[in-house]
């Protein structure tokens, strides 16, 4: 595996399976009384989060601590950015403290790539702008595999704001690499141009996407999108694209419902679906720790001998 995890596109199929299998072993650590192994003892991991995040940051922090690493949380307040310190300067200052790994979340696509060029530490992309969120896709795949025993051949529908979603891009790359039949669905105003080239079916009909689906993944809709005239109202969005019990009935009877969180209840997903028997949303969160432990462990070793 390479020095950094910036994009799912950098992983081979073997890399992906290695991460998922390692996550399996890591999950067991979370089931013990003493949830700790000494594997990353003495290693320093910096969580550099430019965007507020409860879920992802906590998940990484727990993962790091379970591996006995020392964690440094740098929550970049908006004022620092306003004071004018560049991302590169911030990163180089942090490098001076000799971290082994930097986990970065940033609102600009490609922020991780910039750091990777400038820093010697290993960089883990925890979400860069609209580009990718690799560990989210990995934990999604881990969750799916846990229920369905495989990814190949499954019909997986991803519904929501496709244009602005980094979770979408990572999931498309990962699920197609593992042989799933991926359908993406959203309003025509939110379909990224050319996305079909990544090997997915594109539709604006939720019914078509969900028909006989094994997995339905809902993406967040941000209220700000109404400003950009992407859709007229939350009410209309829910009526046309929201996941309700009725819509879900068209999927396979053993369908699982997923959501990267945080959810907008009543916008992209009805509460009875989110809390219902098909939902694995909370499991995704639990799996996130195991998957991130696997990624941290696998990246912490030396660079792969060429």
């Amino acid at each position: 595996m390479r020095k950094d995890l910036l994009s799912i596109g950098d992983l081979t199929r073997d890399d992906i399976y290695l991460i998922l299998d390692t996550a399996d072993a890591m999950r067991e650590v979370g089931e013990r009384t003493i949830k700790k192994v000494p594997t990353l003892r003495g290693k320093t991991v910096v969580n550099l989060f430019y965007e507020p995040s409860t879920r992802t940051r906590t998940s990484f922090e727990i993962a790091e601590k379970r591996l006995s690493a020392d964690t440094l949380n740098v929550a970049v307040a908006v004022s620092s950015v306003q004071k004018g310190e560049t991302l590169v300067d911030t990163a180089l200052n942090i490098e001076a403290m000799a971290p082994d790994m930097i986990v970065i979340r940033h609102s600009s696509s490609g922020a991780g790539h910039l750091l990777s060029r400038v820093c010697k530490s290993r960089i883990i992309n925890a979400g860069d702008g609209m580009h990718e969120h690799p560990t989210q896709a990995l934990l999604d795949a881990f969750t799916i595999r846990g229920h369905k025993k495989r990814i190949e051949g499954l019909k997986i529908a991803i519904v929501g704001d496709l244009l602005h979603s980094r979770v979408l891009r990572s999931n498309i790359l990962l699920l197609t690499a593992l042989g799933a039949d991926v359908w993406v669905c959203g309003p025509a105003t939110l379909v990224p141009p050319g996305i079909a080239r990544l090997g997915v079916h594109v539709t604006t009909s939720v019914d078509e996407a969900v028909a006989d689906a094994d997995v339905v993944m809902m993406l967040r809709i941000q209220h700000e999108r109404m400003q950009g005239a992407f859709f007229p109202s939350v009410r209309e969005y829910f009526q046309t694209f929201g996941m309700t019990r009725e819509r879900l009935a068209r999927a396979r009877p053993d369908v699982i419902i997923m959501h990267p969180g945080p959810m907008n209840r009543g916008v992209e997903i009805a509460s009875d679906v989110a809390d219902g028997p098909y939902s694995v949303i909370l499991e995704q969160v639990a799996n996130g720790v195991a998957v991130r432990m696997a990624v941290l462990y696998l990246l912490a070793g030396g660079p792969e001998a060429d």
């Binding site: 560049t86 600009s108 696509s109 490609g110 609209m130 580009h131 990544l198």
Partner: protein
């Protein structure tokens, strides 16, 4: 002081010449061009080595010299040094300085700096509107008197159809074109890259080609309405080229230019070799292969009038940031000739004669400049080019203050041997021996 440039291949399409000729320079003028001219006493002979081309001085009609106000990026002195190193004897510089070149004071300042540098000729382009704010016309007559050769609000389009109409009508009194940065602002939004598969895959906000063509269509219609002349700057989209062809077929006074990066590169550069390289970020953005190929076709069939670089220097610190935050623009003066030779002439897209039209004859004609030919009595602005010189682009060695180019490390075939302005050699490539 008389100089005889002996034995070079003279390419002078304005006078229908392409062959081995001698050029006699007397003071700052071209005295004579002919075969085997006699060598008189007191004439310094410069033997032009075989294979070199002698042509009318190249003119870059789209350059940002950044002075006054942004001297950390470039100055008139460093910009004109870059120009002559790139084989250009003249540049026309854009008004989006600080303060904006919307009154004679700034125009005169630029000309003063150019005279002090005494390298390439500088022809300032003034603003269309005061402060380039798009509300009121600038004092265009004053700008013309002070030395401006055209007007533009480059960086933005002229804000409203009404203002563009007025600008076209007004400038037609002074025989000046309005140079337009075609961009429908609401479609551009906060886009940073060409709207297409690459931007989608990389999570970058896109700018569709139609953002450019919609504005071009507006301006062409207004040129038709008013009889004024519009020159479309840095054209990048195939839809815009179609609009230009349509406008020309209807007799509208529309011309257009293409930059080297738009006929060489595509948006695939966003993904690699350096992902999210801010030296690949400019406006208008690099577009798809179909657009790049359309630009090549337009250069070939004559729909495109001019090659201009849109030389846009930015300081290293400004570009060493996230892609979204980086300013738009790359340098171009010192890579243009090599790219033109390598990707146009040697690639069989254009003849050398046609290239000289695009880089010298047409810019001179559009801006009513003395130059563009080696006629007797014309200013002795001469570019001596080396079509077969192997060149490796080295940003660090460039004369421009800024190094923001995506072509670093490229090996190209073709370069500059020497540049002469008003009879003085202002640049000589020390890799080439000239007697």
């Amino acid at each position: 002081m008389k100089r005889l440039l002996k034995g070079g291949r003279v390419v002078d399409p304005a006078n229908g010449r392409d062959g081995v000729f001698d050029v006699l320079v007397d003071g700052d003028r071209i005295a004579r061009v002919g075969r085997d001219l006699p060598v008189e006493d007191g004439v310094a002979v410069i033997e032009i080595p075989g294979g070199l081309v002698v042509c009318p001085g190249l003119i870059d009609m789209h350059v940002h010299l950044r002075e006054p106000g942004q001297e950390h990026k470039e100055t008139v002195a460093t910009g004109t040094a870059a120009a002559v190193a790139g084989g250009f004897t003249a540049v026309a510089c854009m008004p989006n300085t600080a303060p904006v070149n919307d009154h004679a004071g700034v125009t005169e300042y630029i000309l003063k700096k150019a005279a002090e540098a005494n390298l390439a000729r500088v022809y300032p382009i003034g603003a269309v509107s005061r402060g380039q704010q798009g509300e009121q016309l600038a004092d265009i007559a004053e700008l013309k008197r002070a030395g401006c050769v055209a007007v533009t609000d480059d960086g933005r389009p002229v804000a409203t159809a009404l203002l563009m109409r007025r600008a076209l009508e007004y400038t037609s009194m002074f025989d000046m074109p309005v140079i337009e940065h075609c961009e429908e602002q609401t479609l551009k939004g906060d886009g940073v890259a060409h709207e297409g598969f690459q931007a989608s895959a990389l999570g970058l906000r896109g700018i569709p080609g139609q953002a450019e063509s919609i504005m071009a269509l507006r301006d062409i219609a207004l040129a038709e309405l008013t009889g004024g002349a519009v020159h479309i700057a840095h054209m990048s989209a195939r839809q815009t080229l179609d609009a230009v062809r349509w406008g020309k077929s209807r007799g509208a006074r529309v011309t257009c230019e293409v930059t080297p990066h738009h006929f060489v590169l595509t948006d695939e550069m966003l993904a690699g070799p350096v992902a999210y390289d801010t030296n690949v970020k400019m406006n208008p953005p690099l577009r798809e292969t179909a657009d790049r190929d359309a630009m090549l076709a337009g250069l070939k069939d004559g729909s495109v009038d001019v090659i201009a670089t849109d030389h846009a220097p930015h300081h290293y610190d400004e570009k060493q940031v996230e892609f979204d935050r980086a300013p738009f623009g790359i340098t171009g003066l010192e890579t243009a000739v090599s790219l033109c030779f390598d990707r146009l002439v040697h690639a069989g897209v254009l003849s050398l004669s046609r290239l000289v039209e695009l880089l010298s004859v047409n810019p001179a004609r559009l801006l009513r400049l003395p130059g563009g030919s080696l006629s007797e009595g014309a200013p002795a602005d001469i570019s001596i080019l080396a079509p077969d010189l192997p060149v490796t682009v080295d940003a660090a060695a460039m004369k421009s203050k800024s190094k923001n180019t995506p072509f670093g490390g490229w090996t190209l075939r073709g370069g500059v041997a020497a540049t002469m302005v008003g009879g003085r050699v202002v640049y000589a490539n020390d890799r080439i021996e000239m007697g």
